[in-house]
């Protein structure tokens, strides 16, 4: 085990799913390895360790990122959410529920990354952030719907070798609809 602090290791605090974890890390340790090997948070998966598959996707300060190319020491001070932290107690996140109901997976290994990514995709779209297939990039353009084409492009950083893309896209669309309804309902309440 690395000493607490040296020129090549540090004692750090990681804020994961709202909990603070104090641990010494070798600077070479990625956030992914810190989660899996040090903190027993193995829901985040290692598919390629090179940023080429998306299986290790987590949310860092509410934005999706690949944890395999994030050094643990560089993640200190950030708010990290992993798949273990997206449900509300026993109640699954709507995206998780949609994946379960619509069979948005097969082997399940890319699934935590797909789900974390999908949660962020729905937020990114709702915030008006464009994608490569967004027709009108103009900031004045009316909000554009989260079409299957938009979902596919935005989710393309998450490979699924089992080929469950069709059901994943349906699951994301269903969760996005639920999300939009919640927002609309929320807006109405606010207006009222």
């Amino acid at each position: 085990m690395a000493p607490a602090t040296s020129s090549t290791s540090s004692a750090i605090t990681l804020n994961i799913n709202g909990e603070k974890h104090h641990l010494p890390v070798d600077h070479r340790t990625t956030l992914l390895d810190a989660l899996r090997e040090r903190l027993d948070l193995t829901g985040t998966k290692k598919g390629c360790d090179q940023g080429q598959c998306g299986a290790c996707t987590v949310l860092v300060d509410q934005r999706r990122a690949v944890s395999c190319l994030t050094l643990a020491v560089a993640a200190e001070g950030r708010e990290i959410t992993t798949i273990e932290g997206v449900a509300e107690g026993d109640e699954l996140h709507p995206v998780q529920q949609a994946f379960l109901d619509l069979d948005g997976y097969q082997c399940g290994y890319c699934t935590p990354g797909q789900i974390c990514s999908a949660i962020a995709v729905i937020e990114e779209h709702a915030a008006g952030r464009p994608s490569a297939v967004t027709e009108d990039l103009s900031p004045e353009a009316a909000p554009q719907p989260l079409t299957p084409e938009e979902i596919r492009e935005r989710m393309s950083g998450n490979l699924c070798r089992c080929g469950a893309y069709v059901s994943i896209v349906r699951a994301v669309a269903r969760a996005a609809e639920a999300h939009a309804e919640t927002r609309t309902a929320g807006a109405k309440e606010t207006t009222a």
């Binding site: 940023g51 990122a65 690949v66 952030r129 490569a132 990039l137 900031p139």
Partner: protein, 330 residues
Amino acid sequence: MREFGYQRAHDVAGAVALLAADPDARYLGGGTNLVDLMKTGVERPARLVDVRELPLDRVESTTDGGLRIGATVTNSDLAADPDVRRRYPALAQAVLAGASGQLRNMATVGGNLLQRTRCGYFTDLAAPCNKRAPGAGCSAVTGEHHNHAVLGASDHCVAVHPSDMGVALTAFDARISYESPDGPGEAPITDFYLPVSDTPHRETALPPGALITHVTLPAAPVAARSRYRKVRERASYAFAIGSVAAALTVEDGVVREARLALGAVASRPWRARAAEAVLTGAPADGASFAAAADAELAAARPLPHNGYKVTLMRNLVVSVLTELAGEDAR
């Protein structure tokens, strides 16, 4: 991966001082390329200076109507920026065409400019590569090169620059500002990237230890009608095999101003000035667009297995310019 030190910089001067103290140190931005290269053993820094907390994370309008983009602005923030989308749409499109949502959230503007080639020999320590080990030879010239350079390459290296963003910045005359141990400096992006020559390991004009601080886009009304198109071997999440950033102003059926840059064809984003010269003042029609593409690609020197790129780029230039001219007519 060898052990390394890690420090966070909180201001530019401090970052530059930290790096100057250690010739084996590297700046760490989003890490999307550097950390990967450390894992494959191509990069072996002794120390990382994390620059993501530097106050360089804003996109600001300049007084002349251009934009000043901080080096730590993430790709995704750059693409979502209203001014970028309004005034330089091809830049937003180029950024959105690169990598994935996750990687764009991490990658920074400065890091994007400095990313290394994805030539497979560069990351294969068992293969000779002049860019990685000067003098070792180039494996691609006699090996796999169907996605290698057709313009501006040398016998020493035929790797292509992987950036999408850089292609759009090149079309729009971006200037790269940096802070070095000897003080600040600036270079137009076309001078920032060095020709391959016999020194493919020397990629930029950045002085040793220098930190990119900003990218400045001069005002360019022509850029408001601009487009980036990228061709790749799958529909998303892949590097380009050819890309075009183009902007066009057409008046009375005549091209008044044109900007054109090509990606994935050279060791650097390729400004197509020969094509621009042909376009300017020419009728905005297919014949002019083809003539412009041919003028630029006359210098192409394809290898045995990448000759298709000359045809691809000609077609892509014509297609993108035709689309832009069509928009202009509306």
